[in-house]
Symmetry: C2
Subunit: 209 residues, 2 copies
């Protein structure tokens, strides 16, 4: 047995090592755990082990933390949509690029996307973020429509409902996918894309038992 | 102009017309809007326009409201799974029955399922509900495995991740589907099932442009 057992634990004091990125990451985890409204700056300070004034050194308000956190999810998604617009392939190829990139961003920005997906639209900031999210639904729906016109996608599927169903499957990844889980991120991306494009029944009916 | 403008508004008093079902429905809408933890019995009483003691006439506690609300979603889902177990068709047919029934229950019990899907697992009651939900994931994953063994489902898809992706698409319906929306409930069910089983690319590649 070591004598350190008897040593009094160090008193909690300000930890000067935090940068804004770390403060943001820990804040987002707290928002996701307790809800944004229920997470006070005092609670955040406790969680970071720093004083409230030390948090205000990093960001002027809780709403600024929310804005920064939502941008962590929205900016990469919007930049991906810009790439889709400039992509010179068929609508079908652009659709695949859109869906694959979304899976990657969701895995990389999991906690930030979770926050975005749970927004209720209670404030102007939240409503603006939700509107940016709806713009992505419209982009995806438009891409489905163009791919149908090109003859590469079946035409019986209603484009807006299809866009919602596609995002539904892909967005669910933030709720259940863990990096230490049963499949790695690349396999997950390939399986989700293949499931969406080819379905559970990949083979013609007459080749199955 | 009517002279009623000058009349003092009636004092708030108990509305004897509520039954437990209505109280439950309004409570669930409040839980979904503000979050369960942030919805006090006082807030609920305001929303119902009745006194707190009138709510306690219907249910002994807020947690009982949560239990009743979660059962509104869980009991039909578990009863559907019982039907799947007794179903005498192939695993493929049982899988389709499972997914179709889930879409129907989600549309019929939308606000209750929304509450279930947003649970964080903060209390014993919430953890029990989440465990009942995980049991459904396992049932679906097992059904995918059996359908793969039967040779009716492609074998390259990892069953647990596939079950999560299938539920991801279908559960999303509670977030976006509205009865007055672009497609009716039966069309939505058919389109979601067809998308999942046959994919976006329904035709063989050589038949597309």
């Amino acid at each position: 047995m070591q004598s350190t057992q008897a040593v009094t634990p160090p008193v909690k004091r300000g930890r000067p090592g935090y940068d804004q990125e770390t403060v943001l990451q820990i804040a987002v985890e707290a928002f996701n755990e307790y809800g944004y409204d229920a997470t006070s700056m005092g609670k955040l300070a406790d969680r970071l082990g720093i004083s409230k004034s030390a948090i205000y050194h990093h960001v002027p308000s809780k709403e600024d933390l929310l804005r920064l956190a939502l941008d962590e999810a929205l900016i990469p998604l919007e930049s991906m949509i810009e790439q889709v617009r400039r992509h010179e392939g068929t609508a079908d190829e652009r659709l695949e690029f859109f869906l694959r990139s979304t899976v990657r961003i969701l895995i990389a920005k999991r906690s930030y996307v979770t926050l975005l997906l749970r927004l209720r639209g209670n404030t102007e900031l939240e409503r603006t973020a939700l509107e940016r999210r709806r713009q992505m639904d419209r982009e995806l729906s438009e891409l489905v429509t163009v791919a149908q016109r090109e003859g590469r996608l079946r035409e019986d599927l209603e484009p807006r409902a299809t866009a919602r169903l596609l995002f539904g499957m892909i967005n669910s990844v933030v709720d259940w996918y863990r990096l230490d889980g049963v499949i790695d991120a690349v396999t997950l991306e390939n399986q989700a894309i293949s499931l969406l494009f080819n379905g559970l029944h990949a083979l013609p009916k007459n080749q199955t038992s």
